[in-house]
């Protein structure tokens, strides 16, 4: 393991920033939900009320539940989000400056397959297991475009280190000349957070799907993990596509936070703007449309990268 | 962490996998045994690379092992699916004859 000294203080700070972003995302989502419902309270305090309610709720138990795997699954999304932000540079600081940070992100995002499915499995309930399978079906379609989407910035920067990729965008942000890769990445982030178009795994038609039997603290951690994943995905997009900390006047870390917050707000807002995609239909879209488009994008980027050297 | 200890861990993983591959009856469980044996090989190859000859070319071997695991899994699942569809069985013992 690289000899980067990880101080407990900065790890806590990173976790705190991630938590703050997740809370802000939840507040924004509460506001948007209340506005969509029309009238009534502003919805800004909705996350607080929800947290208080879930903290006091008694745990629901099911017959012959696989409690160990169930708890691992519901707590896993939050852990994933924390592991992702360890490789994201904030200004000049990076918690865990791994030379293969991009692959690290990929290794962490496939953990969603395990955790979401395990949450669905552990309850020993039909509806939540159906939800788990729906997520895996989505996973088969979104995962490869997501991975190949991240190949493009790495090729353009000729590095797998997240900080180096950010530094390679001094002239032009990668999002400008690799928009397809960025879209595939954004789709993947919405998917690993089981958000927006990818909510059929939590669908009301299957009584909440993966979350059908989740209650109390488990539900709180699972839902919090979804917001944290959105935040971590937005934070990782900043060095990969949005120029890292580059920007006028403000210092690097401030720009990184501003960009993360803006992208996170877009992610949250998209929840009500996109239709849910059915896993069976999206499978073909992923393999026949998304994956070839991203591969062509990679080819173009590779040609440009070779031509520039 | 010396070469000997790394190899001991690899040997333990390989032996556990060998036990599984020999004793399990269900095709998918046999595949898990094979995976575990290859898992041991990964540790051993990584140990040899670092402690004996850390030149660039040694790592290629590890990539080959990982590729072999992928191929093994993909073909194993395909055969298991086919077997299940044609014979309605999931056990190696029931697929031993050429009938069908």
């Amino acid at each position: 393991m690289p000899d980067s000294a990880v101080s407990a203080g900065s790890a806590l700070a990173a976790a705190g920033i991630l938590g703050l972003l997740a809370v802000l995302a939840a507040v924004l989502d509460g506001f948007l939900t209340a506005r969509a419902a029309g009238g009534g309270p502003s919805g800004l305090s909705r996350p607080v009320g929800e947290v208080a309610r879930l903290m006091r709720q008694r745990r629901r138990t099911t017959v012959a539940a696989d409690t160990l795997l169930w708890r691992i699954g519901s707590a896993g999304l939050l852990v994933m989000a924390l592991m992702i932000v360890t490789v994201v540079p904030l200004g000049e600081w990076t918690l865990f400056d791994l030379d293969v940070g991009v692959i690290w992100f990929n290794a962490m995002d496939v953990l969603a397959w395990a955790f979401v499915w395990l949450t669905g499995w552990g309850a020993n309930s039909t509806h939540s297991l159906v939800g788990g399978y729906r997520f895996l079906a989505h996973g088969l379609a979104y995962e490869l475009p997501l991975m190949f989407g991240l190949v493009a910035p790495a090729v353009a920067a000729s590095s797998l280190n997240v900080g180096t990729v950010a530094d390679a965008q001094q002239d032009l942000w990668f999002v400008v000349w690799m928009p397809v890769a960025f879209l595939a990445y954004g789709t993947g982030i919405l998917a690993i957070a089981v958000w927006g178009p990818f909510t059929p795994a939590l669908g009301t038609d299957i009584a909440g799907g993966v979350t059908a039997e989740l209650s109390g603290v488990d539900r709180l951690v699972f839902q919090g993990g979804r917001y944290a994943l959105l935040a971590a995905g937005a934070a990782f997009a900043v060095p990969m596509f949005l120029g890292g900390g580059a920007g006028p006047l403000l210092p690097g870390w401030a720009w990184a936070l501003v960009k993360t917050g803006a992208l996170l707000a877009v992610f949250v807002w998209l929840r009500r703007r996109l239709p849910a995609v059915r896993p069976d239909l999206f499978m073909e879209v992923g393999w026949v449309v998304l994956l070839p488009a991203v591969l062509v994008q990679d080819l173009l980027v590779a040609v440009v990268a070779v031509w520039r050297t | 962490m010396t070469l000997q200890t790394v190899l001991l861990v690899a040997a333990a993983l390989f032996s556990v996998g060998l036990y599984g591959a020999l004793s399990q009856q269900v095709v998918v469980m046999v595949m898990m045994g094979l995976e575990l044996m290859l898992n041991g090989l990964i540790v051993a190859a990584a140990g040899f690379w670092w402690f004996l000859a850390p030149d660039p070319s040694g790592q290629v071997l590890l990539l080959v092992i990982i590729a072999a695991m992928t191929v093994e899994m993909a073909m194993g699942f395909a055969v298991a699916t086919h077997l299940h569809r044609v014979r309605r069985v999931d056990m190696t013992d029931m697929a031993a004859d050429l009938n069908g």
Partner: protein, 187 residues
Amino acid sequence: MITHISFWVFAVVAVLSGAAVFWVNSMARASYALALSFIAVGLQVLLLHQNYIGVVTILMMVMEMAVMAVYMVMFMGMNPALMPMNMVHDKRHALAAAVGAFLLLAAGAVLIPWPARRGTPPAGVTVALGEELMGPKMLVMAVVGAVIAATIVAGVVLAAHRTRYDRLGDDLRRRPANDPQPGGVGR
């Protein structure tokens, strides 16, 4: 020091969760025990300074085990809840073979006088691996690519029960195709 401790922790986790695969009573637990074993091995490979290989091992194996769990549930036709299962044959001989293999390999690992280290690790291990693959060892990469492509084709041929004649009719002219599960592109 911390390297040594974490090496031993990972070693114990890897071997114990590997053994748990054949010991637990649940298919999901077996699959994810194997995933845990692979994660521990991937972290050990990271300790042995091969960052790319280590992280890729974790990446691929977690994904594979997520799929593996689905196959286990699909093919081991029994109640997916925690249910005792004991589907082994010839357990004694298998155990003897495993113990024998371990003793042989362990004796080899301890008794063979391993040569001294030759050469020094490159400064950028991942860069060196990439240049090796795209340079002198290009043949390996090309062969692996071809083998994996062949595997994809062979796997689909084996696993799919419908052919293009089922989809498109005997003269391959039916549009749209007759699929039991329609796709999103409407082919």
